[in-house]
Each structure stands twice: as C-alpha cells, then as structure tokens.
C-alpha cells in the first residue's frame, strides 16, 4: 500500500520535472525473454547530478534495464527520454554519443593492450581529434579526480581496483552525463570503496548523473540520493536512501521474507584436521598470482573464512587444496595426519574432501550434462554397484536435492547449463554438502543466490560444521564471512594473513589485511625464524 502511494508520488513528481527536463527518463520499459519477463513497464527518472540506486535481488531485472539504457538490449516496448527528447538507443556507441558511460561488473578491458589503447578503442575518431594527445588528457583527468591511472601501463599488470578506475576514466574522457556502475564495489577493498565514493561525489557535484547498482545496502544509504527497487521485473518501490536503514531497504527488496541481522553462534574446532605448511607455488596462468608461503590449520568443527579481493591467489589456493593442481609437495598439505600434497583430486575426494569451485559451469558442473549425471560426477562410488551405474538411485538423489534446495529447473533431467547461476549454485552446494564431507572447500557459497536460498545454504553449512566437518570458505563478501566464519583470515597477492577468531577482529582489520598490510611483518617474522 505504502509502495503504491510512493509510486504515485514519484509519477507525479516526474510530471512536474518534465518541464525542467530530466537527464534520463524511462517510460514503461518492457522486455520479454523466452520464459521470463525481465522488465515489466518500468518507469525511472534521473536528474542531473543525482546518484540513483537501482536495487533488487539477482534476476530482478536490473541488468536488463541498464543494458537497455546502454543500448546493448533493445526493449520490446517503452520510451526513453534523454534531456527531455525521445531517443532510440540502438547500440552502445549511440549511448556513448549521447553521453552515457557504463562500468561493467565484469570489466570490459583488454588485458594485452595498454590503458590508453583501451580508452582509445572507445572513442570516435572525431572525439580523438578533439582531445589531441590522449595520454596527457588521461594524466590530467587522473589528477583532477584522484584516479591515479598511468596511461602507458598494460592492463594485465593492474590490480582490480586500478582496472575499475581505468573503466571510469574511459567514461570521463568521453565527458559523460550519465555514468552507470554495475556492482562497482563488489571487487574492492573497503579502503578502495571510499576512494571510489569520493570520485562519484565529485562527479555528482559537477552535474553528472550516476546510476548505481549494488547489493550492499549500507553503501546505498551512504551515497545515493534516490533509490528504485525492482522485484520480478517490476518497480516495487522507490525511496530516499538516507531516510532509510539497510534493513528497511532489504525488506522492500525481498518483500517480507528478509530476516536481517541474523547471528549464528561461533564455535571452536576440536582438533586439527587439515593443514597447509609453507605452501609456495608459481601460478600456471600468465596473469595468475603465485602462492607465497601459505600456512594455516583448519580444525574439525569450524569454519575458516578467507577474505580477499578477486584475483589475489584464491583460485590458485583452491586448485592446490582441491587437488585440481597437484604440483604441491607431498608434505605441504595434510589431512587427518596424512600427507596428501601428491594426491589427485579424485583420491582426495575419497578421503572425504568436497569442493565447490568458483566457476560453476565448467568446473562445478558439466554444462551439457543433466543434473542427474552431474550428481554422479562426485558421488561416483555411491551410485555404482558391480560396476554399473544405479541410474534410478542417482535420479532420486538429484530430485531430492532439487526439492531440498528449491532449485528452479524443469527436473533432474535438465541440462546444467539451462539453470540460472544462482539455481545451479544451490544444486552444487547441495550435492557437495550431501556427501557429508570431512572437509568442504567452498568458494562464494551464495554468489548470485537469492536471500531465501542463501539462508538455506548458510544453515546447511552450519549444520555440516556442527556435525564435525571442517569448512574452508573463500569469499569476496566480507559480511557473509563475518556471519558464518568462526575464524577469519585474508589473502593478498598470494600471501595469507594470520588467522584470528571472528569475535576478536573487525571489518577494518580484515580490510587492511585484504590490502596486504600484514605482508611485511610476516616476511620479517619468517626471516627472523630462519636466521
């Protein structure tokens, strides 16, 4: 009811503002995909200099909407007004010509090109001629906004935070009037986030409108002037974030389902189950991170969380522990007082290890296989009798998983690739937890999963811990780690920080660690012990 009233008010205010010409106005934008109405008559209005949050769970239609604005997706119905004039945005280049810039969630940079080449690719020839020397223009803007971007560096040598600044720079060079940011903070350390916000505030003061997509509600309340909340492709509410709390906004996002600020009891493990001892390995990937002297212990009955910005060695660490990459020394990893560094992934699974990789399609599941077949992949011994696959049992197991974790799909015969990311994640989590492993290694357990299902996954993880399993949780979502982990640690540039009890630390300290402040002291310590 309240929502309806707000909507009407918003509608009225748009009418009033039409005389002063809003920067951008969307009227009745509708987009139908096969089997899903992604955007259902969406109205949205943005003033010059306004920072506007676009909120909603995964699958609420945010991405489709911003892609429509940026010309990547053509709407089936509806009008777009730009500075009061009706426009058709056929392609991203039309959008850019209007003055719309976008920073993507997965960056659209080319790693083998330099910063200035990357920026050049986005500019029209006319624009380039106007600018003159691109490199000096980049330096000048870099200074003006405190972006700290070196035009001649190759992108593959930049950190994630720097890459994001390159993307923002790319928009600035084009003198944008509307900047769209798709979950910009999900890859940044807390310190980098506040730097980003300073840039956004400066831009806003200069009259640039910003459309800000985020899942992190405290950020929205901190920086945004207006918020539009989507659910199931519809605008369900609008609000002024500074007048709301994260909890009240969350409620608007998920309806009445949300259970905010849940607290789980922290536990202490019983005995050391798994340990990594002086684990150092160069990365196999050209742009990968080498692991440097990683050392930690994991106890039975506890959850150890490893925080870190993406690309700091998480993938390499996961691969080494799971056995996907078995170049480690025999003695550098041990499980149950047994050295396992030399064992293959399959042998490690037989010893009671389970693994949820970050990449769901291709690593966690075979895209072209049915869910039943994907179940078989890691339950092979369970469903085989006398050398024959027990299809009936496997099928029943798969359908039980689908029911238990509320996986949205046609049935256990659906191909893995036909599921949405969040639903596949639920299935894979269920499959791995269902093996009752002694040790579960898990990356981003609720990535792309809606709030209700995330709660179910959290509960399943905690139950597993309470049964005495050890869980290693690697995530970029600090809030989730603080919620679930009994002990915390952070990874930066292949170094692993010390581990501390979650009660004894705070977001600030972990944030510092994510930025690598522990590395020097750790290095001194090891040098001391060596000498």
């Amino acid at each position: 009811m309240q929502a309806d009233e707000r909507l009407r008010q918003n509608g009225a205010s748009t009418l009033n503002k039409q005389q002063t010409a809003s920067r951008l106005e969307l009227i009745d934008i509708t987009k139908q995909y096969p089997g899903c109405l992604a955007n259902d008559s969406i109205n949205l209005c943005l003033q010059p200099g306004e920072i506007h949050a676009l909120l909603g769970e995964n699958g609420a239609g945010k991405s489709t909407l911003v892609k429509t604005i940026y010309g990547v997706v053509a709407p089936d119905k509806g009008d777009i007004l730009w500075d009061g004039k009706e426009v058709t945005i056929k392609s991203p280049s039309t959008a850019r010509d209007l003055g719309i810039g976008m920073v993507f969630q997965h960056f659209s940079l080319f790693e083998t090109l330099t910063v200035s080449q990357n920026i050049e690719l986005c500019l029209s020839q006319k624009h380039l001629d106007n600018i003159g020397d691109l490199a000096s223009k980049i330096r000048q803007l870099s200074e003006e906004y405190g972006l700290n971007v070196d035009p001649h560096k190759y992108v593959h040598s930049l950190s994630i935070g720097e890459r994001q600044r390159v993307e923002i720079m790319r928009c600035l060079v084009q003198s944008v009037k509307l900047l769209i940011l798709d979950e910009p903070t999900s890859v940044l350390t807390p310190q980098e986030v506040s730097g980003l916000f300073d840039v956004l505030r400066t831009l806003s003061k200069e009259g640039c409108s910003i459309l800000f997509i985020s899942h992190k509600l405290h950020e929205v309340t901190e920086i945004c002037h207006q918020a539009t909340i989507l659910r199931g492709g519809k605008v369900v509410d609008t609000c002024v974030p500074s007048e709301e709390t994260p909890a009240s906004i969350a409620k608007m996002m998920v309806g009445d389902l949300a259970e905010q600020e849940t607290q789980y009891t922290k536990k202490e493990g019983t005995h050391t189950l798994f340990s990594a001892n002086k684990l150092s390995l160069p990365s196999k990937q050209p742009f990968g991170t080498s692991l440097k002297n990683i050392q930690f212990e994991l106890k039975a009955g506890e959850i150890l969380g490893i925080a870190g910005v993406a690309g700091n060695g998480q993938d390499e660490l996961m691969a080494i522990i799971s056995g996907e990459d078995h170049r480690a020394n025999k003695t550098s990893l041990s499980l149950d007082q047994m050295y396992i560094g030399h064992l293959s992934a399959g042998d490690r699974r037989k010893l009671g290890m389970a693994y949820v990789p970050e990449e769901r399609l291709g690593r966690g599941a075979v895209p072209d296989m049915s869910l039943t077949e994907n179940t078989l992949l890691t339950h092979s011994t369970g469903f085989i009798k006398n050398g024959l696959v027990q299809w009936q049992e496997a099928k029943e197991y798969a359908s039980r998983l689908i029911k238990k974790y509320n996986v949205k799909c046609h049935g256990e015969f659906s191909e893995a690739k036909s599921l949405s990311g969040g639903n596949l994640q639920k299935f894979i989590m269920g499959r791995e937890i269902g093996q009752n492993p002694k040790l579960l290694i898990c990356a981003h357990p609720t990535w792309g999963v809606d709030v209700g299902a995330a709660l179910a996954i959290h509960q399943a993880l905690l139950d597993l811990r309470d049964q005495g399993a050890a869980i290693l949780l690697i995530s970029e979502d600090i809030d989730e780690l603080f919620l679930l982990a009994d002990r915390m640690s952070a990874i930066c540039d292949g170094h692993l920080s010390p581990q501390v009890k979650t009660q004894d630390t705070n977001i600030d300290q972990i944030g510092q660690w994510m930025a690598g402040t522990f590395i020097d002291t750790q290095r001194e310590l090891t040098q001391e012990t060596q000498s």
Binding site: F110, T112, L113, P286
Partner: protein, 310 residues
C-alpha cells in the same frame, strides 16, 4: 661455398617462402580476430586450380591471380557463415574445408593436369637490383614477390599502428568486451576470415602460376599446414612471420643445396626438413606455456554469439 651460391640459395629461399608468407599473413589476421581456420590447405588448393584455369583460358596472369583471390575468399566465406552465423565448431569446420577443397580442386582441375603456361616473368627493379648481393637476393623477383613485400609492410603498419589493428586485437582477446563497447565483433571476424581466404588464394596462385606454372593435384603439399605452424612460430607478429616464412623456405630447399655440395643424403630424407623443423619449433614454443598464452590471441578458437549477450 662461394658468395654466388649463397646469393642463389637465399634468392631461392625467398621464392619458396613467398607462398608461405602469403598464407601465413592471411592466417595471422584471422587468428588475431580470434578465429582458427584450419581450412588453409583447401582454400589454397582451390586458389591454385581456379587461378590456373583463369590464366590458362584467358591468357592473362593478372586475371588468374584475381580469380584465385576471389575463390579463396568464397571458400573462406563458407567457413565464416558456418562458424560465425551457425556457431559450428571452428576446428571441425576448418578440417572439413580442407578436405572439401582438396577434393573439389582435383575435380575442377582434372582437365588441365599437366598443361603448362608461361609464368610471371621476373622484373628487375631499377637501381635496387644493382646493389651487390642484396639486389640479387631481393630485387630480381616476379611481381607477386614484390606484392608480398608490400602486403607485409602494409599489414605491419595496420596491425601495430592503427585503430583497425587495435580493434582486431580487441576482438580476438575479448569479444564480449569488444561487443560491449560497440565494436561489431562478427563483422570484424567476417572481414578477417575473408582476408585470410583471399591471401590463401594468392598463395595458391603463386604455386600454380609462378612456382611451378602448371596444375597438379595436391600441389601445395601441406604448405597450408606449415603456415599454421609458422603463425605460432612467429608468435603472431607480422615481422617474424616474414622471417619465419623465408627460414621455412630455406629448410625446404636444403636438399638441393646439400646435393649441390656433394653430400649424399637421400633427397626423401631432406625433403622432410621443413616438417621436422615445424615439429621442433612447435615443441619449443609449447614448452613455455606461460609465454604461449601471453602471446596468443586470448579468445582464439572460442565462439562468440551476440545473441547470448543479454
């Protein structure tokens, strides 16, 4: 060995390396856009036979080369439609194109097997050909060799110095990102593939109009495959492709050289040299995974479908 002999050997190496240079230049542009076309051999054979037929019937060498280029691009267009439009597997489609081209060229050319024509006459470039040694090696060739010089220089400039080159690299590295910033990925790939086809066509024409001015079934004898290795050997750099092409050319005339020196090694063994060299080079390059990945276009061989972007 005297200086004259060395000059002659190098002259011959350039002549032998030229078809490799043409086809490898085409392939490298194609691969830079992220497309692996294994149909080189088929396109080259079709270029050779059609080029020969055109020159044989019209008596015009220029028309022969033009026909070969058009034929090569048409062949590559089949590949492009299958791979880009219909999402067919690049490796399988490329192999099929080679098999198709081999068979079709034999069929088309069956009437003119053994016929000969007057090939392109060598042109001595005034002044330049007077330079001692160097002039002998570089500037007493036929027009197609000079064309290959020009194309190499032009491509070097385009790939490394222009926006077109930047766009090409961008598409080959990350087609999704390229699409997001408004580059027409499929259009770029179509053009790159068809350029590769046209170059394969010229390479074929060089075989049947200049190198041995006649048509024989399978006359390219695996040069399309060597060119693929050559692109890797040159780590996708234009300048190195030219150098590599002449090295490979040198390797394939080595048996003549050694015979000239009076070494009695079976010519069959020596004829294997370029292939052995190819294998060795491939092994050396693949040994360093790190470098291989850094140099190769990162999305090479991976399909891109703009319809999946939403």
């Amino acid at each position: 060995m005297d200086a004259d002999l060395i000059t002659q050997i190098l002259f011959a190496a350039i002549k032998t390396g030229t078809p490799l240079l043409f086809i490898a230049l085409g392939e490298v542009i194609c691969e830079k856009s992220g497309i692996l076309n294994l149909g080189q051999e088929g396109m080259m054979l079709m270029g050779a036979v059609v080029g020969f037929l055109a020159a044989y019937t019209t008596g015009s060498m220029g028309l022969g080369v033009l026909a070969a280029m058009i034929m090569g691009s048409l062949m590559s267009l089949i590949f492009a439609v299958l791979v880009l439009q219909l999402g067919a597997n690049q490796v399988a489609t490329g192999l099929a194109l080679t098999i198709f081209g081999t068979g079709l060229s034999a069929f088309v050319g069956s009437g003119v097997v053994g016929q000969t024509i007057q090939g392109f006459a060598p042109i001595d470039i005034p002044l330049l050909s007077e330079i001692p040694y160097l002039g002998e090696i570089l500037f007493k060739h036929d027009i197609l060799v000079y064309l290959s010089f020009a194309i190499t220089i032009a491509l070097y400039f385009v790939v490394n110095k222009t926006r077109i080159g930047l766009t090409l690299k961008a598409v080959g590295e990350n087609p999704n990102a390229a699409n997001a910033i408004g580059i027409k990925v499929l259009q770029v790939r179509y053009l790159a593939i068809m350029f590769g086809g046209a170059m394969a066509g010229i390479a074929g024409a060089y075989m049947s109009l200049v190198y041995t001015p006649m048509w024989v079934e399978n006359m390219t004898s695996g040069r399309g495959w060597i060119a693929l290795a050559l692109v890797v050997f040159a780590s996708w750099r234009i300048g190195r492709i030219m150098l590599g092409a002449y090295l490979f050319g040198l390797a394939s005339i080595m048996h003549l050289v050694l015979q000239g020196l009076g070494w009695s090694i079976s010519p069959n063994l020596l004829a294997m040299l370029p292939y052995v060299a190819t294998v060795i080079v491939m092994v050396i390059i693949s040994a360093d995974h790190f470098k291989e990945k850094l140099l190769a276009p990162r999305s090479l061989g991976k399909p891109f479908d703009p319809r999946n972007m939403a």
